[in-house]
Symmetry: C2
Amino acid sequence: MGDEMTRRQVRGDLTRTEILALLGAAGPLGRAEIAHRLGLGAATVTEHTRRLLAEGFLRELPPRTSGTGRPRVPLQLVPDAAHVLGVRIAVDHLAGVVVGLDGQIVDEFRLPLRIADAPVPLLVETLLREIDARRHTTPVRGIGVAVPGMTDPESGVVRLSGIMGWRELPLGRELARRLPVPVLVDNDLRASTTAELLFGMGRERDDFLVLGIGDGLGLGVVLGRSVQCGADGSSGEFGHLPVDPAGPRCTCGNRGCLQALAGQSALVEQARRAGVSGLGEGLPGLVGAAERGEPAVLAILAEAGALLGRCVAGVVNVLAVKAVKVIGEGHVLWPFLGPSFEAAAAAGVIEPLRDPEITVAPWRDIEHARGAACLLLARGSSELKRFSSVD
Amino acid sequence: MGDEMTRRQVRGDLTRTEILALLGAAGPLGRAEIAHRLGLGAATVTEHTRRLLAEGFLRELPPRTSGTGRPRVPLQLVPDAAHVLGVRIAVDHLAGVVVGLDGQIVDEFRLPLRIADAPVPLLVETLLREIDARRHTTPVRGIGVAVPGMTDPESGVVRLSGIMGWRELPLGRELARRLPVPVLVDNDLRASTTAELLFGMGRERDDFLVLGIGDGLGLGVVLGRSVQCGADGSSGEFGHLPVDPAGPRCTCGNRGCLQALAGQSALVEQARRAGVSGLGEGLPGLVGAAERGEPAVLAILAEAGALLGRCVAGVVNVLAVKAVKVIGEGHVLWPFLGPSFEAAAAAGVIEPLRDPEITVAPWRDIEHARGAACLLLARGSSELKRFSSVD
DNA sequence: CCGGCTTTACTCGGTGCCGAAGAAAGTCGC
DNA sequence: GCGACTTTCTTCGGCACCGAGTAAAGCCGG
């Protein structure tokens, strides 16, 4: 009961981060403008910016008069005042990025690497090498790790990752013990949801959903500007929404999970069974078939889109959230899923919430790595400050 | 953006209320025990209880030694230090209660009254009479109103109430203008969810769901000890979860809403169509038929239970909430809905969340009135203190 | 060019919360 | 019966946030 404590400890930092994120996204702003946009009091902004200036994360620009009144003093981000490394774990590779305070990617890498069997030593070795390589260019002050699977961000424990074959793996603790900078671990979709909160939809909205179409289906939930984690960080399991008790068996053991009906491999399987020829391997093959106008594939995708839309509409009805962002590998299917998704989502939502805003952005798996980096940024500047760069 | 302001203003009061609620539910406790149970710091409890003692809401009992250590000073609630009136609006009647600080009902009433056409004057007249009648016994310091329909608790506007035929009705403002005590208006299910947070499940859990089976189906969502309201207070529309696009038309205009498949009137209709004889009117008739062991009815109810269970499981998967409470008129159907509900809910939930705790409590519609009263209690003691009793 | 206006920024007092340190008030061992 | 130990409660300093009041710094109109 009462996580108020934790929340409060972190809140001040979060506010400073939001200031940094805002300046990163919207360019130099006066203090009054910051206060207005973030819904903070002017006094609060004065206080925080004082600290951020002292820490070197911000600089003041010459005053700029805007018509009448005292001129504002624009504050500008110093993006290179700190860099953070984010990695996304996948089955056969690691995707990594280095971002500045503004969340912009300044460097990226991709390493073919199967870490499932010995995650800790392989990650430690790799991360140390990457940190070291950047010692003189973009020194790293923190590391975020995005895991494909159910992960508790508080404890850093990977509860369950089917793809990686992990269960109750205390990744956060083990990495923190062996790396010279702070480490945060979270589920990949929630990491990207955090990025979205800081630098994406969160710019304009306090509440939104992030639908992740990847190996599985996930749903990130942001309510009141906070990313919901649920008990043990096990929220967001959208793929295992029970849809049809008579449906096909899912990897989780249940029958008729959403994922078993509209997940990527389910779609490929359906296409194959419908006798579609020339299906290459996996997702690209499916996209190819759809682009060729293969009617069976188009029908399958349209139906899957409608199903997804209905399920999202259900969540929208319950939580009264008006915006949804779609991310993940599967976004390449969106041209074919999208129309029926949007129709179903709009139709399935009660009238006052009608026409939820649905956004799809181009996506690379590097985005999850950026999300991982944003976990650090969301924890705030003081954490970054304490740990000076490695040398 | 940033409702932090509002949240903070209200938070202190909420904490005091939680202290009062805890003492109401668990009897006299020492300060250390309060701090522990509410997850607060000891300093905070000292501060708050000082105020509550000064305001007369609490009294100290003689110190009681418990083995070793300094004896604790138990603090006892003074339940009659303030009373709050709560009413639930229904189509053909008003249900009302007066509760003390501990949320216990000290008085109740039920008035046959159709207020749909002239809600403000009828409510004002009725409430003034009820306040006046209690002037010398249990003076009323605030009023909560529970509305069957989508209602924004912030503004007090009833967005949409199909049953009452209201739309964008600024009930809160109009009542506040005409009544001598503070008035809060909210959706009925959310009101009961608030009661549950203060005096029910919230005792042990920070996150839970409240499934309301009434005229419609609603879902109250509590995350991190706060009742989720969504944009414009329009959250919780569980009944309009789109389940079957080919299903029967719902009152909301869509097809195959959960409510159109498993709502009370849908169930009655299904039973009628199945040729069940001796169906009295509405709910009691259905219960009667089920109790007679009518196989068609039992099958219908079992299927509805399973459907409800699956839908709740979906929400549980997404939000990672482990406890569900079932309330509402429809609880009388629970003996027949329950088994399949529980099975479906357990089956539809991913393994780490397996076996969500499902609780059903006996229920009278007076509970919604109590929920309405709890809206006031949740807003805190200082609001009650400011407005002395009417005289 | 000097006071009024506007907008920006800062200061100050107040609230809610915390952790750490210290005071208080008992039991217990010797 | 006196110090040690334990538990409870309070005090204190500190952080995050706010609103209101004040200072600052430019424009503008007479």
